[in-house]
């Protein structure tokens, strides 16, 4: 019996085949990347001149850069000229008309994850009124936020309606020249989210890309910018636990967070893109740059991520702790099953005095998965009394997977306090047998043991997300033990 992920894979691959039609349909570009492509994208999005210039400069930088190969992941070289950098959303005619036309295996997975019918339709790309429903939900939601002065919209809308904010912050945390994929994203980014929370405002609800219809077609080069002004608070949820249908294999997103004085940003991600088949074929390559700047005193940025999808994950959500007394946190669960490869971790850059950071990383490897934790803690020479606590735990399920840990520590101030703990455990036959002996079957035992292992991270997730994440882990590891 094919597993759910394999089936989703088939679906993804099938869609993928006609993802890059070069027909006369004006909104789709042929493969290749040059200045004209960048100009086309910018013009299509009716962007101001300064943004076009910004993109072109990024393209210039990207062309001079080399694809990085230091990560512990292996794949065939990517031909960047074989990719189309602007594909319009699919027309309704190409979409399934109802859930009856969607692969039943995919629906079975949705069911297991407990996703409501309406959302299943949206996720499966069904062309029905459900989409319009969610537009109206999103509108009510947005009105409520607008009353508080909170801006929550697509990146394109932000460029149109709040150009001064975008211009002020874009690229300030992740500069165009930061790395190869960030430069590529800066040149050709498709769309994404923009959030601005004004001074002293506490955002009363979790902001989720889920509510924003545009999120469904942000494309492969997503760009997100979140600014929390002085004394404000916002919690942002990215992605969803359901397997995402996507035609694009290469994803290179950039996320920038800015927390001003006394502000706090909590950014939670659940990523479940197609991981490829058991040989890793057809899975998504996820090369993401995520960074937060704790700009002001006592500001705080907290990253929580649950990564279960993608064939290759290259991702290091980081915090630059510039403000004195600022706090950075990173909580991560990364699962690699099948032939997935994950090289993920964080960077905590301590610049201000009395800055604190916490890193809790839980890597789970099953099947032939390879899981790497790569983290850097840097204490600058002015960062008096900086403190860091890092804990990196790996769990192995089966004997064909691997776990690797690469912690880098760079301390330039002698008052720093660093603590690092690491452990590797094999999900024991002893543990499973103990559960079995108490009447619990093996599948349930594995999910219980794994959830226990990840508990410290799950408790950082917003409640509903945490429940979904647990179920997701069960589905991701289904059949991984004997």
């Amino acid at each position: 019996m094919p597993t759910a992920t394999e089936t989703i894979g088939r679906l993804t691959e099938r869609e993928y085949e006609y993802g890059f039609v070069t027909e006369i349909e004006q909104e789709t570009l042929p493969p290749g990347l040059d200045e004209d492509v960048v100009r086309f994208i910018s013009r299509r999005k009716k962007e101001p001149e300064w943004l076009l210039e910004w993109r072109l400069k990024a393209l210039d930088i990207w062309r001079k850069m080399k694809e990085p190969h230091w990560a512990n992941v292996h794949y065939e070289p990517i031909d960047y000229q074989a990719i189309s950098y602007f594909a319009a959303p699919k027309s309704d005619a190409d979409r399934p008309k109802s859930l009856d036309e969607v692969d039943p295996e995919l629906l079975r997975t949705y069911e297991k994850l407990g996703i409501p019918l309406r959302e299943q339709e949206i996720l499966a790309g069904v062309a029905v009124d459900a989409v319009f429903d969610s537009v109206s939900v999103a509108t009510t939601f947005r009105d409520k936020l607008a009353d508080l002065g909170i801006v929550f919209c697509s990146f394109s809308e932000a460029v149109e309606n709040h150009p001064e904010l975008v211009k002020k912050y874009l690229g300030t945390v992740v500069p165009r020249a930061d790395n190869f994929y960030a430069a590529l994203n800066s040149a050709v980014f498709s769309d994404g989210s923009f959030v601005y929370v004004p001074k002293g405002v506490r955002c009363p609800m979790e902001l989720s890309t889920y509510f924003r219809i545009n999120a469904l077609n942000t494309g492969q080069f997503e760009r997100t910018l979140i600014v929390a002004d002085e004394g404000s608070y916002v919690s942002y949820l990215e992605g969803c636990t359901a397997p995402m249908r996507d035609e694009n294999q290469l994803h290179a997103a950039v996320v920038e967070l800015i927390a001003h004085k006394d502000a706090e940003i909590k950014y939670s991600t659940v990523q479940n893109w197609y991981p490829g088949d058991e040989n890793g074929k057809g899975g998504i390559f996820n090369f993401v740059t995520k960074r937060g700047l704790c700009e002001g005193e006592r500001s705080k940025i907290s990253w929580t991520q649950v990564e279960t999808g993608s064939a290759i994950t290259w991702k290091y959500p980081s915090c630059v702790l510039r403000g004195d007394h600022s706090v950075g946190e990173f909580y991560s669960v990364a699962v690699s099953n099948l032939k997935q490869q994950a090289d993920t971790g964080t960077k905590m850059i301590h610049l201000g005095k009395n800055t604190r950071s916490t890193i809790i990383s839980k890597g789970i490897s099953a099947g032939r998965g390879q899981n790497t934790y790569r983290g850097q803690v840097k204490i600058g020479k002015n960062a008096d009394n900086a403190r860091n606590f890092s804990q990196c735990d790996s769990m192995l399920i089966g004997d064909q997977c691997g776990a690797h840990t690469f912690p880098y520590i760079d301390v330039q101030n002698s008052t720093a306090q660093m603590e690092h703990e690491a452990s590797t455990s094999k999900i024991g036959e002893e543990q499973i047998f103990y559960c079995n002996q108490r009447g619990i079957d093996t599948e349930d035992a594995v999910s219980m043991i794994v959830n226990g292992f990840c508990k410290e991270v799950f408790k950082e997730l917003p409640m509903e997300f945490a429940v979904e994440a647990q179920k997701l882990l069960e589905v991701s590891l289904e059949g991984s033990v004997g």
């Binding site: 002996q437 009447g439 619990i440 093996t442 219980m448 043991i449």
Partner: protein, 251 residues
């Protein structure tokens, strides 16, 4: 209730049980004693369904059913319980959560209504008294950071909640001081009923002063070489196992 006939089992090609026979009736307490390496723990593991052991010959019938055909969780669901010699730690999973999952999967398999959180809590409060276990241990992860004595008492507590038909206690007395031993024994005694049988595996006679067995078996070299009443335990205490070992050699 339990009938073992000529059971032979090995691990990695090495034969450990060499033709063991034993019959236990409902309501009885059987003690199994024997020197180190005689196969006592192997017997417990084989009965509970540990896969590392190869069954080479013989049969085990439990309530008229072929026990060896059942998966470990099925055995548990049908009322076989093993109190582990070395209880396993499961970090991050609370003792309460674990036990509730266990009880409900057993109830579900039996076609009984699963208990909700309130009903379960009530049950736990009642049973926790049986072994005098600190209630704070309920919230802690399963066996994680428990002292040796706490782990053993936790096993008896699990037994009290799951109410098995056949309970196997694998050296539950080892590593316990006299007070803990008395508590554990009192817990076991309170669970003795006409419908429930116990197989108490122990190295020392000491435990049997508090859990008085109906039958004592002596195991040497993978076989039962001597069975008798509770006096046999005392005899072993004074004479040691030597005289029985030579008997096993002769057999």
């Amino acid at each position: 209730m339990l009938k073992i006939e000529n059971l032979k089992a090995s691990v990695e090609g090495q034969e450990i049980l060499r033709g063991l026979s034993l019959e236990v009736k409902a309501g009885e307490v059987h003690a199994i004693m024997g020197p180190n390496g005689s196969g006592k723990s192997t017997l417990a593991q084989v009965l509970a369904g540990r896969e590392d052991y190869e069954i080479d010959a013989g049969s085990v019938t439990y309530d008229g059913e072929d026990l060896l055909e059942l998966a470990p969780e099925e055995r548990a669901q049908k009322g076989v319980f093993l109190a582990f010699q070395y209880p396993v730690e499961i970090p991050g999973v609370s003792n309460t959560y674990f036990l509730k999952a266990a009880l409900n999967s057993i109830r579900k398999a039996r076609g009984e209504q699963e208990l909700d959180a309130m009903e379960f809590l009530k049950l736990v409060r009642e049973k926790v008294k049986v072994v005098d276990l600190d209630e704070s241990l309920m919230k802690r992860p399963v066996n994680d950071g428990f002292s040796g004595g706490e782990k053993k008492r936790n096993e008896i507590f699990h037994m009290a909640v799951l109410e098995p038909r056949l309970a196997i206690l694998d050296e539950t007395d080892s590593g316990l001081d006299i007070d803990a031993l008395k508590t554990v024994a009192a817990g076991v005694n309170s669970l003795r009923t006409d419908g429930r049988a116990f197989l108490v595996i122990t190295h020392y006679q000491r435990l049997l002063e508090y859990i008085v067995p109906d039958v004592v078996h002596v195991m040497v070299d993978g076989r039962i070489v001597q069975s008798g009443g509770k006096e046999l335990a005392l005899e072993l205490e004074s004479k040691g196992y030597g005289w029985l070992e030579s008997k096993a050699g002769a057999a």
